[in-house]
Subunit: 457 residues, 2 copies
Amino acid sequence: MTVRNLEHLFRPKSVVLIGASARPRSVGATVLTNLLHGGFAGQVMAINPKYKMLDGLPVYPDVEALPIIPELAVICTPPTTIPRLIEQLAMRGTRAAIVLTAGLSQVMDSNGKSIRDAMLATAKPYLFRILGPNCVGMLIPSLGLNASFAHANALPGRLAFVSQSGALTTAVLDWAKSKNIGFSYCISLGDGADVDFGDVLDYLASDVETSAILLYIESIRAARKFMSAARAAARNKPVLVVKSGRAPEGARAAASHTGALAGTDNVYDAAIHRAGMLRVYTTEDLFNAAETLARAKPMHGDRVMIMTNGGGAGVLATDAVALGAGKLAVLSDATLARLDAILPATWSRGNPIDIIGDAPVARYVETMKILLDDSQSDAILFIQAPTAIVPSDEIAGALAGIISQSPRPVFACWLGGNAVLQARKIFREAGIPTYGTPEQAARAFLDKVEYKRNQEL
Amino acid sequence: MTVRNLEHLFRPKSVVLIGASARPRSVGATVLTNLLHGGFAGQVMAINPKYKMLDGLPVYPDVEALPIIPELAVICTPPTTIPRLIEQLAMRGTRAAIVLTAGLSQVMDSNGKSIRDAMLATAKPYLFRILGPNCVGMLIPSLGLNASFAHANALPGRLAFVSQSGALTTAVLDWAKSKNIGFSYCISLGDGADVDFGDVLDYLASDVETSAILLYIESIRAARKFMSAARAAARNKPVLVVKSGRAPEGARAAASHTGALAGTDNVYDAAIHRAGMLRVYTTEDLFNAAETLARAKPMHGDRVMIMTNGGGAGVLATDAVALGAGKLAVLSDATLARLDAILPATWSRGNPIDIIGDAPVARYVETMKILLDDSQSDAILFIQAPTAIVPSDEIAGALAGIISQSPRPVFACWLGGNAVLQARKIFREAGIPTYGTPEQAARAFLDKVEYKRNQEL
């Protein structure tokens, strides 16, 4: 395995867009806008013989005409043009490109070779690295680089997302932005003809700006390379995987999508676990994992306290914890005595800690302080249903500082819809991982338990 | 079993609030506001010897002073006052009350009897019906009646929600409102000392304004009565159940919450299925079920077509359908030919139908029309990831009318965050059930399949 020349892809100082366009809603126009307005400090250039100027930028007719050697090229011209463009770029000294164009396997060149194979053959002698083809591109917010035709930009952060699906890439980007979650890298692999999961994992394993990695996988071609990179990455940071194609029908759909035949699901499952990665199963789990990885504090055990203003919500959280690998913490006598002193006589006197639906803000604050003080638990699930007694945002405002200053991890669930949007926002801005249901908050806690156990093995 | 006097609870023409208050954020003030501003056409009265007038309403010192006999009383005074109030109400001719007050089991009267038992003993000779105690109350939007201390009102609709948890009641209310889902009844049972699941199911089974019933259950006391009512209800309309206390720890938490010892989970599970009800397991499933029951069209089989603009999203939906009890529809030759004529050469030529990420609006419209025409499928999953090519709301606007005019059920997923909020809203307003992830949309389809199979047994 080699990360050779990947630095040109992932840390470029200049970028050229080949196929820049003025046509609204075209890929060429979208990428140009993204490149120019993402905040990239390096030089951005554009090529298209049809234009002299686009969006205030001089446009060059071809690679030869460029004033400097671009470190990275982004290509969205028709399939047949691509092998020659790679050749011209390589000759000038460029060593990396993102190919957005789709359909390269279906189109043949004059020798009866697929354009995909011709492109790879051209790139090989130069060790010229190619991301794609058939991908949405790549976003590196720390560089202000948006080399994609995604509809949105990404916030800077410490999560890397690597996806074999363009749709999942734009969906995760959009979802994360609305939750104020940032990325170190957001990479759409597309067909993965050259740069694949193994390459990217190898690079991200030692990338100091990335603290956790999320993967959406449909199929792996170079299994050994993948496993070795995955092991190395998972030793350094959490690596979470959604692997689709679980059912035979799904695997067939994946094969028709990425063109690669996927192995049976249990082979993948075993490999994911052997490499020390954590597998999650649904899009929602992926979203929730992003929330957890972006915000949750380090956790040192499997005991949890559930604090709630509603008995039923507490029961649902308890079920989720107990049906998973978590343990309900036992309240110490000292904690019980402190809680007795501030809670109504009808409180649950046990875990879950039900502070009762009529709780004013002070009761939330005092209870949370007592629970954060108790060393007999490793985490707190805070589960809140809306009430007319206190608006949720007032509770969130009073608790956010206390929770964010404590080293103890708290997983929060503000149940409901519009009435809790502001409370969720306040918690997220304070860095507290926040979920929509008790079960999702419990799942986040359980994922951390599982991750810790994996690490210990 | 008897529904005797339940009509006074569920169809009251006048309501008195006992314990009305001016103290901000108190239960007495919240219920008064809810009663006065919900749009109730009947007479609203209030009792509290401390006030002469509240919110423009004359306040009476006691039950005797009321100008007319209230059909329903809502009580939020301290426990010890309650048995005497029930007696006074019954003497005047009232036959139903909602008791919001908590802690009636823990407080004893002068004879050493719990207030709960004293209240029930007082009510019994009059067949006086009591909802609660320790509940959030009840909302009947078709009457404009909000006899609760929930923070929000409910929209009118055809779903009934009956909950043993006040927290779940306010959470579901809030969530449903933000999704524009309405209710025929929203009933918080609280401790269920008198009116219980059996009573309410019996009433709702034949209620023409209710087309589906959602239950949140922690424990059932009168099992035989419940089963007979559940069977009758499930024969007439879908009844979905979230039963918590699945793990022993959760069951213990439930016992401490509702005071009732729950049986083991598999006893409940068998009973739920035997009665013809459908069981779902999490808060999210409950939310999604509400969306499905409120919006999905009747479905006549188990074959589904998946239409998507992203291969990966299609694979995830396929997995979910195939791992459940659904079947991927086989595209007929006629449909294949029609799709070939309008889709790019690289389309999937099979189900899932991947219309490719660069699809303009016209391609969505034409594809959807062709799929709605094909009688070889019973439903369509529409799974869309955001793109820069067309804003999601434009696609939603173009599709909503076509879908809502077709008899074929469509389950939609707009993946993402802020970029798809408007599209989701447009679809929901057109009556199209809409979900956040491919798996949730698939789950909705599968729930309909399961419901149909249950009905056939």
